[in-house]
């Protein structure tokens, strides 16, 4: 009951924040020198940051599984990585749409930031191939957990790639001097990030509830057989 109430509250929060975010992007945040297409970044960057958070959360749950053997932590790790991969698809799609307009290409292989994010995405996409190639049980859980922890190393590399690489085609917003955004732009960005985070948290809990129910029904079916 408490879990259902929490999920309803989270869904309402996500819906409210999403509405506020869209309104702020189109009616509050000013259009800067990059033009109207810059508004893609208000969703593109928060989705990328949330994808990193999902992969990090998945790795943390994998670590908890290996360390404490907490029941359900393997499932939580799996669902978090699944969310991260879905968000990763959105990062690649929204980024490509922006690139097509600004650079005239859907994809630029010379950009380290883009290629490293693709490597991170493909690494976690391969997680599912590994997971479903092993029979369910402790062996699958352990191997998936180790793989998820290895993947987390790619997150800081992907994040720092833009700072260590020499290419200047990918825009840099967060530098060592702080965010290169105006006050209203930064506020809009913050609301957008909160909206995407709450949406991801809501979808994570919905998917997790479904998977837990599925497992319980499977056990019940076996006991009734």
């Amino acid at each position: 009951m408490l879990r259902a109430n929490r999920l309803s509250a989270l869904a309402a929060l996500a819906l409210g924040l999403m509405g506020a975010a869209i309104a702020m992007v189109f009616f509050y945040a000013p259009v800067d020198e990059d033009g109207f297409n810059q508004k893609i970044f208000y969703f593109h960057v928060p989705i990328a940051l949330t994808a990193y958070a999902c992969f990090g959360w998945g790795a943390w749950k994998a670590f908890v599984h290996l360390w404490k053997r907490t029941p359900g932590s393997d499932l939580e790790s799996y669902v978090a990585i699944h969310q991260g991969v879905i968000l990763g698809v959105l990062v690649l799609v929204t980024g490509s749409i922006w690139a097509r307009y600004r650079w005239g290409h859907w994809w630029v292989w010379s950009s380290d930031q883009l290629v490293l994010f693709l490597v991170l995405f493909l690494f976690y996409a391969a997680y599912f191939m590994l997971r479903f190639s092993i029979e369910p049980g402790p062996r699958r859980e352990n191997m998936a957990a180790v793989y998820a922890i290895f993947g987390v190393v790619l997150i800081p590399i992907s994040w720092l790639a833009i700072h260590i690489s020499r290419d200047i085609i990918h825009p840099v917003v967060f530098t060592s001097k702080g965010p290169q955004l105006g006050g209203s732009q930064l506020l809009t960005f913050g609301v957008c990030w909160a909206a995407i985070l709450s949406l991801a948290a809501c979808l994570y809990n919905v998917e997790l509830a479904g998977k837990r129910l599925d497992a319980r029904l499977k056990r019940l079916r076996e006991s009734l057989a």
Partner: protein
């Protein structure tokens, strides 16, 4: 509508469509789980009847 506006619309629509497809998949899964629950309920109701029939069928002595 300018070209930039078209691209922005496409990007936001992509996000909307992916979330919608995800919710559709979750909805379909929920329907499957509901069917399974109904099936298990039916089995649980039939079980006492089957047990009673088994008890009747056992020959005494």
């Amino acid at each position: 509508m300018t070209t930039a506006e078209k691209y922005v619309t496409a990007a936001y629509l992509a996000v909307f469509v992916v979330v919608l497809v995800y919710l559709l998949i979750i909805g379909l899964k929920l329907m499957r789980l509901e069917r399974e629950v109904a099936d298990l309920e039916q089995r649980a109701r039939q079980r006492p009847e089957q047990d009673a029939e088994k008890r009747k069928a056992v020959a005494v002595g």
